[in-house]
Subunit: 260 residues, 2 copies
DNA sequence: TCCAGAAATAAATCATATTTATATTGACTT
DNA sequence: AAGTCAATATAAATATGATTTATTTCTGGA
C-alpha cells in the first residue's frame, strides 16, 4: 500500500479529497478544516465536533488532527479548552492573510466586500510602498523589480501564466523594496488579489500594452529615485486594476458560477 | 506532584522557564522556540536541531514539540521536510503580526527600523480607517468607540494601566468599524505599537489633556459622518504619537537598557 | 564517470496510555 | 431554599512507543 495516505483523507461528505495537487495528509486536512470553519457551517462561538468524531470523519489519527488544530489556533480561528471543547472564534480574530485561509476564501467564501476590501487596501498601500521603494531600494531590490518587469514584457499576451507570475512578482518586489516589514505582511494579500483578478478577468490583448506602459512608469520613477512620481504612477496603475476588477465582479455576479 | 508541568519546560540554557504568568507547557514552549528563531541564533536557511535533541533540551514530549512546530510553520518561520530536517525560512515569510512574534520582537529583537515601520504603517492606515469608519460604522461600532473614549477620559492620568487599555481599545474599535478586513489585520500590530510606546514614554500629565482633545476630534468627526475630517483628525493624532515615540526612542537609544 | 539501487535518516503518521483542567452534579450547610 | 463545597465525569493536554514515508547519501556495477 503505497502513498495512499493522501487519498485517505475524507471530506465531510465522505468523499475522498483526492489529488488536489500532491499534498500531504496534513495539508489536505488543513484545507478541509479551514474550509469547514470559513464556509460558516460552524458559526462563531459554536463548538466543533470532538476529536474522536473528527478523526473518524476524516480518517486521520488524533495526532494529525491535533497538530492541524494547532495551526487553526495559530490562525486565531479556534480555541480549545478542556471540557469545553474546541470553539470557533469570532471572525475579527482570524488571520486572513494566511495563504491557506486566503485560498479557501477565494474559492468558497468571498463576497463582494471581501474583494473591495482587498482593492481598497492595495490602493492605500502600494502607492506608499512604491514611494518608499523609490527612496530606499538597494541594487538587488531594483534588479528584482526590473527583472519582473522584463518578464512581463516578454510574456506579453503570449503566455498568460507567465504574465500572471511576472505581474505578481513585480508588485511583491516593490513592496519588499519598501523596507517596511508591515507593508511586507501584505504581500500575500496582494498576491491573492492578483490571483483573483487573473481568474476573473479575461484581459483583452490591447490592454496588455496599456498595462505594460503603466508598469514601466512605476519602474522608471523608482529607478530615478522620485518618490512622488512613483506614488502617483502606482496609484494610477492600481486604479485601472480596480476598474478591471469591479467590472469583472459585476459580470461575475451576473453569472455567479464563474467565481467558483 | 501537582502542576509541575509548567516549570518543567527549560530554556536553552537549561534554566527553568518559571512563572512568566501561569502559562501552559505549549505557550511557554512556543515562546522559547519563537525567541530562538527571532533572536537569530538560528539564521535563515539553517536547520534546527532535530526532534530528539529539542525534546531533550526543553524537556517536553515529541507531541508537544511537534505541535509547537506546526504553529511555527503556520507563522512561516520554519519548514519541515523529511530527511532534510526543520529549516528556518527567510524573514520575508514570517508573520510578524502574530501576537507571540510581536511580543518576542518587542522584548528582544526590535531595532529602530522595526518601530519606524510600525509608525509609518499607522500613519498610513489609521487615517484611512477613520475615514471609512465615518462612512460605514454602525450603531454598535460607534458605541464601542465612544465607550473607549469615555474610558480614557475617566482614567485620565489617574490610572496609567486603564488609560493604556482604553487608548488601545479606541484605535482597535475604529479599525474594526472601518469594515475592511485587511485593515483589521493590523489591529494586532497597532496594539503592539501602542504597548511599545506605553513602555517607552512617560507621558507628562499635561499631554493627557492634549491627547484627549485629539481623540475627541476623531470621535466627533466619525459621529458626524465626516470622513475627511475624521481622516485629518486621525492623521494629526498619529503625528503627535509619532513625535512622542521618536523622541522616546532617541532617549532610549541613549540609554539602551530601557528598551529591554 | 555515471547511474541504479540499497541503506540510513529524520520527519510524518498512527495508536494508546496517562495526566490535567473544568463543567456538572449532588450532597451538605446555613 | 439558597449558597458553598467536594466528588465525578468528560474532553483536552501531554506522553510514549511503534510504524510509515520521503529523501539524501552511499555503494556497487556498467
Amino acid at each position: 500500500m503505497k502513498n495512499l495516505s493522501i487519498t485517505r483523507v475524507l471530506t465531510e461528505q465522505g468523499a475522498p479529497i483526492a489529488q488536489r495537487g500532491k499534498r500531504s495528509v496534513r495539508e489536505a486536512l488543513l484545507h478541509c478544516l479551514v474550509e469547514m470553519v470559513v464556509s460558516g457551517r460552524f458559526p462563531e462561538n459554536s463548538t466543533l465536533p470532538n476529536e474522536a468524531e473528527l478523526t473518524e470523519q476524516f480518517g486521520v489519527s488524533r495526532t494529525s488532527l491535533r497538530e492541524a488544530m494547532q495551526y487553526l489556533s495559530a490562525l486565531g480561528m479556534v480555541r480549545s479548552r478542556t471540557r469545553a471543547g474546541t470553539t470557533v472564534l469570532p471572525k475579527e480574530n482570524w488571520n486572513y492573510l494566511d495563504p491557506i485561509v486566503l485560498d479557501v476564501m477565494l474559492s468558497v467564501g468571498a463576497d463582494e466586500t471581501f474583494y473591495s476590501s482587498l482593492i481598497d487596501a492595495r490602493q492605500l498601500l502600494e502607492p506608499a510602498a512604491a514611494a518608499e521603494a523609490a527612496t530606499k531600494a538597494n541594487a538587488r531590490q531594483l534588479y528584482q523589480i526590473s527583472k519582473a518587469f522584463e518578464d512581463m514584457v516578454e510574456a506579453n499576451s503570449r503566455d498568460t501564466e507567465a504574465w500572471s507570475r511576472a505581474d505578481l512578482e513585480f508588485h511583491t518586489a516593490i513592496v519588499n523594496a519598501s523596507g517596511n516589514w508591515v507593508y511586507r505582511q501584505f504581500a500575500s494579500a496582494i498576491q491573492a488579489a492578483l490571483l483573483a483578478s487573473f481568474r476573473l478577468t479575461n484581459r483583452a490583448s490591447q490592454s496588455h500594452e496599456q498595462a505594460i506602459s503603466s508598469h514601466q512608469d512605476v519602474l522608471e520613477a523608482i529607478r530615478m529615485r522620485q518618490p512622488e512620481a512613483a506614488r502617483q504612477a502606482m496609484a494610477h496603475l492600481i486604479s485601472s486594476a480596480r476598474g478591471e476588477m469591479t467590472e469583472a465582479l459585476r459580470q461575475a455576479s451576473a453569472s455567479p458560477h464563474l467565481i467558483a
